[in-house]
């Protein structure tokens, strides 16, 4: 369950740190990226394994249509309530007359069983994974984009802009993430979102993406602001100012590149948290709208049948755990690679 990331956001990296680290290892002429990659390969093979695992999970989910159109011969929305399937030469109802769905058949059709509407659990799991990953990744990217913009503005411009941005972030921060997500999800689930020319239907996946993105902005924007506050006092920024460079140019060409490692470190952890929040929202019925599957909605539907069909909750739950675990271990490895002294953490 995603909770609020730690407030311990002091990131002590930056170009100086890379140079210093590089000096210790007597590696010259390597970019921070190459250096980090080398450090990751050398020191944290477990992180690489989990990174590969994550990529594997993504690949499996992306291949969902191959499984659906091939062995499963169905789609994630198709009900098979009155159908039967032959298992070990015996005809079995996909859903029994008193509503209990079939368990795993370990064959093409209903490989992981069916849900109460007779939908193929394996197919929904793969399509649900696509939705969960899409929402998690998109939300994390939007969070990163907003956080970088707001963090740079607040940290570099300071003054009134800083006050407005920081207090707004404080207000969002003051709400528990899940509560804020549920409140926004409930409010937007009926009529969708309409702001000027932007119109999003109630069933649009952009709604959970935006909700998750917005609620997590403070958790990333505040550390970035802190880092920008430090960077703006550095010599290279003063030099740029002395050369007559405009503030906007300084922000883009001097400050922004120095934030890249922070963003890279944050991203996997942010994706993991976004996937968890999506699952929580889906579980509570305010995430992805039916009939679209997601791991959260599948778990939510599955717990009602945990005794007669434990696979309905356990399978998507397992996938969720694997994905988040993979992202977290990989994210920790990336952080250590970029700056072993960093204290950036996101709690789970």
């Amino acid at each position: 369950m995603a909770s609020e990331p730690a407030t311990d956001y002091a990131f002590q990296g930056g170009p100086g740190a890379f140079e210093e680290e590089a000096g210790h290892e007597e590696v010259h002429g390597l970019s921070p990226w190459r250096l980090a990659l080398r450090r990751l390969k050398r020191n944290n093979k477990v992180a690489i394994v989990f990174g590969v695992l994550f990529l594997l999970l993504v690949a499996i989910c992306l291949a969902a249509p191959l499984w659906a159109n091939g062995p499963a011969d169905t789609d994630p929305y198709k009900n098979h309530l009155t159908e039967t399937i032959v298992i070990d030469g015996k005809k079995t109802n996909v859903v029994s007359l008193d509503g209990v769905p079939i368990g795993p058949t370990w064959q093409g059709k209903f490989f992981l069983g069916a849900d109460t509407n007779g939908r193929d659990t394996a197919v929904r799991l793969l399509y649900g994974g696509r939705n969960s990953l899409l929402i998690g990744c998109a939300a994390a990217l939007i969070t990163a984009l907003l956080a970088v913009i707001l963090g740079i503005l607040a940290g570099f411009v300071r003054g009134f802009t800083d006050t407005v941005v920081s207090r707004t972030l404080d207000v969002i921060w003051a709400f528990p993430v899940l509560l804020l997500g549920v409140a926004l999800g409930t409010a937007l689930s009926l009529g969708g979102l309409e702001i000027g020319p932007i119109k999003l239907g109630a069933g649009s996946k952009l709604i959970p993406i935006l909700i998750i993105a917005i609620v997590y902005v403070p958790y990333m924007a505040r550390p970035i602001r802190g880092q920008v506050l430090a960077l703006r006092e550095k010599e290279f920024v003063e030099a740029a100012r002395a050369q007559g460079m405009r503030p906007s140019r300084i922000m883009l060409s001097e400050i922004l590149p120095n934030l890249s490692s922070t963003v890279i470190v944050f991203l996997p952890l942010m994706v993991a948290n976004a996937i968890l929040l999506e699952a929580a929202l889906g579980f509570l019925g305010v995430g992805v709208k039916a009939p679209e599957p997601s791991w959260g909605t599948m778990i939510g539907d599955g717990v009602k049948h945990i005794l007669s069909g434990p696979h309905l909750a356990i399978v998507p739950g397992g996938m969720l755990v694997l994905t988040v675990l993979a992202l977290n271990v990989f994210g920790d490895g990336v952080r250590d690679a970029f700056d072993p002294r960093s204290t950036v953490r996101m709690e789970h």
Partner: protein, 551 residues
């Protein structure tokens, strides 16, 4: 120092042991799985009434609560089974026989009646209740549209105005109701709790957040609309023929999780649940708690999909017929966990007027005719039309909607789902401006009269209210004309004609898409006497006045 810490640890262990043993004692005494509330209190788990105002509620959950608080002029006998359909005197001295060719009903209030707050009951309070019901746009308004002056009162929209057809005399306690045309269902409708008088001074022409006093075995306090309602014994209540309160207090805990409600009843944290166990709790409850669980097709009910006649695609008969051909009740039986009896009639079995006619769309227990449905969709010209299936979040309704969406897609529509909270759902889909194309709905008998189904749910008259129960906005002159002919007749007199009208509405016009009748359940905690006091009632579903605790 070390000895000191050992002493502290020993004290803590002893305290923990004592508290554990104390818990054990509670269980033994309470006999209610830990509830420990004794026989004076009852706890009910429920999805909750949908409105705190006694003239605005709509649901079966609400009627179970409000009938305990508000006694109308005449009421239904508090008896299980068929006996519960009998109309008996409530606040009136007797059940009137209609006069003036069936157009006039005269009531006389009993002497010395008082509301739960001690205010005397006045005849004019009844007219005030009727005005509130009509002015506030209660979905029940259409039941009373045949009273002289009601359309004019509604059109004027002035709460201070007069309803000509209701004459009251506070001194004598006389209430006279004049109808424009004879209508036998009016007396049945007057026995509903939403017509019960409430003090005019405390019942203004606006929606109430806290229920006003009534004359009933209990008083009602809405502690928290979405969480807790409390009924407290009314010591002033004493009406012949109506049982007094057995429990000093009834707490209704509101939840939208049927799973939790079921678990609460199993654990003894709730004594009764107004909902039906679903999911895998249903087989468990059926198997393990046979002695305190029962199922019955009660009250008579119909489950169907409404089809909005005013907007595409169901403004075309072919599209509506296509839905009827495509529905597979066998699939829906599974979603209901076996608690659905497949059927194609709009009037349910066990209701006067029910006719088991041949289903034009095929055997309800057999497979659907998808090919025919696809052909009809093509003929309608709406192939590929976007359709939103409306439903609410109460189990198993999301699953029902998902099945229906799949069917619509299979026969050529482009369907998706919109899910609302159960507490606002019927209000939303009953508004014309919502433009709900089609969706889940059901109807439980309010009173034992076929007009409570066909007249209330399919007539043009039922569209007079802002929020209508005619969610398909059916307006069929042929059906309306036939209803005009049937209203003066008693249900028994016109049973065959009601059956024929049902056949016309479903087979000829496909006004709705019925698929079956639910077996409602009654599930009690261990301490309740479920065998002898289940209170299964044909109007109230479960009459809580009949509940009792084991000796």
């Amino acid at each position: 120092m070390r000895r000191f810490w050992w002493a502290i640890a020993a004290a803590l262990i002893a305290a923990a042991a004592m508290s554990v043993s104390a818990c054990g004692d509670d269980d033994d005494d309470g006999g209610g799985g830990g509830s420990g509330k004794g026989s004076a209190e009852l706890t009910v788990a429920s999805a909750g009434p949908d409105n705190a105002d006694p003239v605005l509620f709509q649901t079966v959950q609400a009627v179970q609560v409000f009938q305990l608080v508000y006694t109308p002029l005449v009421t239904y006998a508090h008896e299980e089974g068929e006996g519960g359909t009998e109309i008996i005197p409530g606040l009136a001295e007797e059940v009137p026989e209609p006069t003036n060719g069936g157009k006039t009903y005269e009531f006389t209030l009993r002497k010395g009646l008082e509301y739960s707050d001690g205010t005397p009951v006045k005849a004019s309070d009844f007219e005030n209740t009727m005005k509130r019901l009509l002015k506030l746009g209660s979905v029940w308004s259409s039941f009373y549209s045949g009273i002289v002056g009601v359309p004019e009162f509604q059109e004027a929209g002035d709460f201070g105005g007069d309803i000509k057809g209701i004459e009251t005399d506070d001194a004598s306690g006389k209430i006279t109701i004049n109808l424009t045309e004879p209508d036998t269902k009016v007396l049945f409708a007057l026995a509903e709790p939403y017509t019960a008088p409430t003090p005019a001074a405390k019942s203004p022409g606006k929606s109430l957040k806290q229920p006003p006093p009534g004359v009933g075995p209990y008083t009602l306090d809405v502690v928290d609309f979405t969480r807790k309602w409390v009924l407290t014994k009314n010591p002033r209540f004493d009406l012949p023929g109506i049982p007094k309160a057995k429990f000093n207090k009834i707490t209704v805990n509101v939840s939208d999780s049927v799973t939790k409600m079921t678990q609460d009843v199993i654990n003894g944290d709730a004594d009764f649940m107004t909902e039906d166990p679903t999911g895998d709790q249903l087989p468990e409850v059926r198997a393990k708690y046979k002695d305190r669980y029962s199922e019955a097709p009660n009250p008579p009910n119909t489950y169907y999909f409404f089809l909005n006649h005013k907007i595409p695609p169901f403004d075309k008969k072919e599209a509506r017929e296509a839905v009827n051909y495509a529905l597979d009740s066998r699939a829906l039986v599974r979603i209901f966990g076996g608690r659905l009896t497949p059927g194609c009639t709009f009037l349910p079995p066990d209701l006067v007027g029910y006719k088991n006619y041949d289903c034009k769309y095929g055997d309800p227990n057999g497979p659907p005719d998808i090919a025919k449905a696809k052909q009809l969709v093509k003929e309608s010209g709406y192939e590929g039309e976007k359709v939103t299936v409306w439903t609410n979040n109460k189990d198993p309704r999301p699953a029902i909607a998902d099945y229906y969406r799949d069917v619509l897609n299979e026969i050529g529509f482009d369907a998706d789902i919109k899910t609302l909270d159960q507490q606002v759902y019927f209000e939303q889909v009953g508004l014309e401006r919502t433009k709900a194309q089609t969706g889940f709905t059901d109807w439980y008998q309010d009173y034992p009269h076929p007009g409570d189904f066909i007249d209330v749910l399919l007539s043009t008259d039922s569209l007079q209210t802002e929020v209508t129960n005619n969610q398909g906005f059916v307006s069929d002159p042929t059906l309306d004309k036939k209803l005009d002919e049937l209203r003066p007749k008693t249900p028994e007199e016109a049973a065959d004609e009601w059956g024929a009208l049902d056949e016309y509405a479903v087979n000829d016009q496909a006004h709705v898409a019925p698929y079956g009748y639910e077996e409602s359940s009654s599930f009690f905690s261990e301490r309740m006497d479920a065998q002898n006091c289940s209170g299964v009632h044909p109007v109230y579903k479960n009459d809580w006045l009949l509940f009792c605790v084991k000796e």
